[in-house]
Point group: C2
Amino acid sequence: MFQAKGYAAVDAQSPLVPFSFERRDPGPEDVQIEILYCGVCHSDLHQARNDWRNSLYPMVPGHEIVGRIVAVGGQVKKFRVGDLAGVGCMVDSCRHCSACNEDLEQYCEEGSTLTYNSRERDSKQLTFGGYSDQIVVDQRFAVKIPASLDLKAVAPLLCAGITTYSPLRHWQVGKGQKVGVIGLGGLGHMGIKFAKAFGARTVMITTSPEKGADALRLGADEVLVSKDKAAMKAHARSFDFLLNTIPNGHDLNPYAALLKRDGTMVLVGALTTLEPALAGASLIGGRRSIAGSAIGGMAETQEMIDFCAEHGIVSDVEMVSIQSVNEAYERLLKNDVKYRFVIDMESLKRTA
Amino acid sequence: MFQAKGYAAVDAQSPLVPFSFERRDPGPEDVQIEILYCGVCHSDLHQARNDWRNSLYPMVPGHEIVGRIVAVGGQVKKFRVGDLAGVGCMVDSCRHCSACNEDLEQYCEEGSTLTYNSRERDSKQLTFGGYSDQIVVDQRFAVKIPASLDLKAVAPLLCAGITTYSPLRHWQVGKGQKVGVIGLGGLGHMGIKFAKAFGARTVMITTSPEKGADALRLGADEVLVSKDKAAMKAHARSFDFLLNTIPNGHDLNPYAALLKRDGTMVLVGALTTLEPALAGASLIGGRRSIAGSAIGGMAETQEMIDFCAEHGIVSDVEMVSIQSVNEAYERLLKNDVKYRFVIDMESLKRTA
């Protein structure tokens, strides 16, 4: 074991505070990563404040991690000391169920081990995330990061990136299709970039007309304001695919009405109850589907990073110090970020 | 025009009464059918009583029609006088949209013309359904009925049959799959027969333990009582596909929990609001889908009838006279039918 330091939530009410804790020494299959940058995901805030009623304290949040390998175990072939590496939402899984065997560790039938607010397998040890100076993970759960990308803007790809890339790939979004990305935040802005890169006609669907100009800058071909009933009617039955990134409960019916026959809307943000309730007719009338998708497997996460390197895609970020993470949370609550806060972990050295 | 007779709802409150009305003479592409049998669909009752707030009176219900061709127009090649024919939920569509061009007239972008409670295209003329002695339809909207099947038990195939056959085919249900049919009524009993005929391991999912024995008789391999929480838990994450035939609002979440990763639940019965509301986590956790499906196109309806002839599949029916249709409605409200009432239209001759 070695001593690591970071910032932690110690209960649901208090701000995050400096925190020292132990990490395991790297085993034969492990890599030890010095963390350079860590993105601030909206789910960090939900979990730090126990919004989902499943929080384990003390909690070191952070699952959008980019850093440099500082040590490798004896069996590690994928990485060398000095390589850049990324860690996302998972650090382990059972590795033998049908999901794990299909490189879909995020759907592990025994439950994947999350990067934080989770427990190590076969142990009661809490996992601690990326708001820290170091992390040790099995090589399977780290991805290679090409040096050609802007590293600080790569961090959000590990969650916001893969969460939007994976469903767009799984449902084969591409040329000749009209695709809507619902909600312009950390997920939505990556959804626009990927849908556009895959060749789809990409429409940003937002409640906020003032986000329109920025959506076009990000690559959207068109903006549809969901509060504009005439515009929604004009777009009815016209979308092949909708990527719904809204992070909380909302009415699905107006969005379902935008789908063509045989179209699919995929939820990636809202885990909670979707009220008011869905009407069966919203689906039956056009053989429409509503589905869900969770992050992506490790192989697909690597594929996504490689795709980003090839196409020069990164997240739009605003850098913050670890000391200002609590202020960042407050701004996040007001959607006051374009489009992801990223913590420069160098700042942690200023904390004793 | 010629004089037809039948039974009609004249308003939302009154029982159905004898009713005389005009039908068009067969045009060049039309066939005139003497109706032998007409099934009683739950939607007949909903519409007769204006449950969906879209009823047009007077209304002659009935869209599960089997009869014999008594006249054909000059351009009709598909049928000859004396042939058996069936008519289902639609009698026309625009015939030029992408749905119609793909033999999916049920999803016609201009709206298909329903067999009753609808209006003819380019006219204000109401359509009148199968609780009558004759019907005139374009040959495209009539299917051939093989003489080898029990005709009275064929009638429900035109709605209950195709409504369950089509999604099982579209989502490619078959050997090696575990399929659940939710709800044992007119649709559900056909769902069991088709899922079994397609080679799937078929589980009847019902709130009513007393329906279990009958479900096994109909071909189910197993019965799952949805009120039994331990049994539901034992079947969690085990179904490839669920055919949900429940005809009204209900909680989708416990059924979604039965689906495997990448599994799909298709709604065919419930057009109304599905409360309590769906939780996003029900879908996101396993990349699950919820979809809807409406009847089937005319080509697929013919395919379904031919499949039934080949495999000896018909509906389980209870015969009633047209004079007792109001009593049948009352029993339908209590689910007191195994599994479809069919009106013997010979009885109509007793009505002056």
